[in-house]
Amino acid sequence: MAYLDHAATTPMLPEAVEAMTAQLTVTGNASALHAAGRRARRTVEEAREALAEALGARPSEVVFTSGGTEADNLAVKGLYWQRRDADPARTRVIASPVEHHAVLDTVEWLREHEGATVEYLPVDSYGRVHPEALREAIERDPGDVALATVMWANNEIGTIMPIDRLSSVAREFGVPLHSDAVQAFGQTEVSFADSGLAAMTVSSHKIGGPYGIGALLLGREYEPVPVLHGGGQERHVRSGTLDAPAIASFAVAGRLAAERHESFAREVGALRDELVRAVRTAVPDAILGGDPDDRLPANAHFTFPGCEGDSLLLLLDAQGIECSTGSACTAGVAQPSHVLLATGTDPDLARGTLRFSLGHTSTRADVAAVAEAIGPVVERARTAGLM
């Protein structure tokens, strides 16, 4: 088996498994006042501090959520409501068109149900938002902007966004900028303080931690309206009993992700480069998606003209190679990727994509398996054509 879908989820790190299992048998609600509660609270707060350090943030800026999707929802909806409640004129949401659906669909929901107007920023052929584009959008009427949201790195094609420069533009106008950093964390330097972002999403299971836990990094001056109401945990921004085992494990994975991101980029990046070369050798007309240089080190995205992504997936799966088309499904039916369409790719071409995403368990054997299989697989998928 060659598992090359780490961007979907990556195996848990042994250290993270250990941290989690150690906590699973410990009783205690971190909100309780007795000894068991205090013990759980200590676990959670130490984890919060570790994660804050890993992400260049203050502990109080870490708001634990159930994962990346919830963090994105909280940031986008919560900040929209906060800003609009403070000034009813602020109803414009500025977003990149290449966001993950957790952001995109939330933004669209605000348009349909909360009176938001949505403005999508232009992107270049690598799917990158340029700071000038953000400036132009805000400048048109700085008074009506509720928030802006631009992901740190694209989950499909791997392009890294100029987050520092985008956030200085937003700060200049007092507009809160949120960034989904789910894919970036662990693969490139991610510092919340240095970024100047108002809010930033991270997820645990993409960095070797457990499922079901993530965090929104949230500047202390922001009080987003909660999506989940209840016991008032997490600065009254996100209610719900804290999942101490998952949080402890997430923090371990987060610390390791931050510590290892340079070696990860070097080693996994070299494997990725090898994979890109192999695919290009076997299929000379394969098109590499995203920025060839300034991209996530573990991501390789290709478009194979004349192929259906689904066919490629089926044929590779039959040979034990597990990857993804990179785009979302509707009722199980693959849709042309909104990311590729936003970069100006022809819709028919956009149907023939594959995303290989490597991770901490990837080996040269995985790359060799792809190198051997991809040529005949593409040839066969081309015969089947587009349906």
Binding site: L313, A318, G332
Partner: protein, 373 residues
């Protein structure tokens, strides 16, 4: 003669989300074939179609099929054939009714989708066969050629809707349920035993792309209501209707003729004339058909050179009737030994030699025993 004795094949199992296709896929996998499951997304907007447990077009059906594939332990994909289905089946269905004929969309789907679009893609991707949950039997002869036969259990036989398959399509078809001499309850029990959650799922009936089963309503929404006359055999107006397209020859219910016929007997639809939007009704005897002509014949093997004596089936759940069929131009002329009722242009006639499917054709015109006024 059974397929289980063959070498292992790469098989693409079409999985609707129902119990039959799930058991068929499981049997193929158990027989040692390398099986991949595929659910066909046939609606561009799945939510707008069936929302109940029946049919084959809902997200729920897709999930049921996926769940079954996971239990069987085979890969599973959803293929989007909505556009092809719309063009080749749904639009054809509407156009046929509009022209006063009575189409069978299931036949059409087998001919154009399952054993054409799907089969072609499967073969291109390196599969050897397409497997479905139909009840029919494929027999491989000594020389390697193949014949389609009725299912072992005549009560469940579905060879009629497969009668459109030609030799090439048949060569790549696999029907693991065909030699099942069991009741539907036993198929459900087998599904249960295999751990397939679809074991208790209700059967699908009627037409999968008409959500509420209201064919007339569906046609009216697509073709627009258009009031016209219902007349008797003499041409006298006996009622009105909201669109001639909504009727089928032989239909008795839903005519809403206020007063009884002079002889007090029930009246049936005898003729549909889309040109002047008229529906003609009359007594049951007037439905008696003695012969018909049919177009677009498709043969499961070599086309017969001259007349032949066969049994014919005229509807999905109809009985058999003895006929003599002879090639006539590009089509076929069929004479019935005894007059038959309720034969409508647009329907398929499938010819059998014993249990063997010889071929099929689309009925284009019928000749009545009693001449119409």
């Amino acid at each position: 003669m059974t397929q289980t004795s063959q070498r292992p094949l790469r098989v693409l199992a079409a999985m609707s989300g129902g119990v039959d296709s799930a058991v068929a896929a499981a049997r193929a996998a158990e027989a040692g074939h390398d099986v991949t499951g595929v659910h066909l997304a046939l609606s561009a907007n799945p939510q707008s179609f069936r929302t109940g447990a029946r049919g084959c077009c809902t997200i729920e059906d897709s999930r049921d099929a996926r769940r079954a594939a996971d239990v069987i332990g085979i890969p599973f994909y959803v293929w989007d054939l909505a556009e092809r289905f719309r063009e080749d089946v749904v639009e054809d269905f509407i156009a046929e009714y509009e022209a006063g004929r009575t189409p069978n969309p299931c036949l059409r789907c087998n001919e154009k989708i399952k054993f054409a679009a799907l089969l072609d893609k499967a073969l291109a991707l390196g599969f050897d066969a397409v497997c479905t949950g139909h009840y029919a039997t494929v027999v491989t002869l000594e020389d390697g050629s193949r014949e389609l036969h009725r299912a072992s259990d005549m009560a469940k036989d579905q060879s009629y809707v497969l009668g459109v398959l030609d030799e090439r399509q048949l060569a790549h078809a696999m029907f693991p349920l065909g030699d099942t001499l069991t009741t539907k309850d036993e198929i459900r029990a087998e599904a249960e035993r295999r751990g397939l959650a679809v074991a208790k799922k209700p059967d699908s009936h009627d037409i999968c792309f008409i959500a509420d089963g209201d064919t007339q309503g569906f046609l009216a929404s697509r073709l627009g209501a258009s009031e016209g006359d219902i007349v008797d055999e003499a041409g006298a107006k006996v009622g009105t209707h909201e669109g001639a397209f909504g009727f089928t020859i032989g239909q008795r219910k839903g005519l809403r003729i206020g007063h009884p016929a002079p002889d007090g007997k029930p009246r049936y639809v005898l003729d549909i004339s889309p040109v002047n939007n008229t529906v003609t009704v009359g007594p049951a005897e007037a439905l008696d058909v003695t012969s018909l002509t049919a177009i677009r014949p498709r043969w499961c093997g070599a086309a017969p050179a001259g007349p032949g004596v066969y049994t014919a089936q005229l509807r999905a759940h109809g009985g058999e009737t003895a006929v003599t069929a002879r090639p006539e131009g590009d089509g076929l002329r069929v004479d019935f030994e005894e007059p038959v009722r309720g034969v409508a242009p647009g329907q398929a006639i499938v010819l059998y030699d014993g249990t063997r499917v010889v071929g099929s054709a689309t009925i284009s015109a019928t000749r009545r025993a009693a001449a119409m006024a």
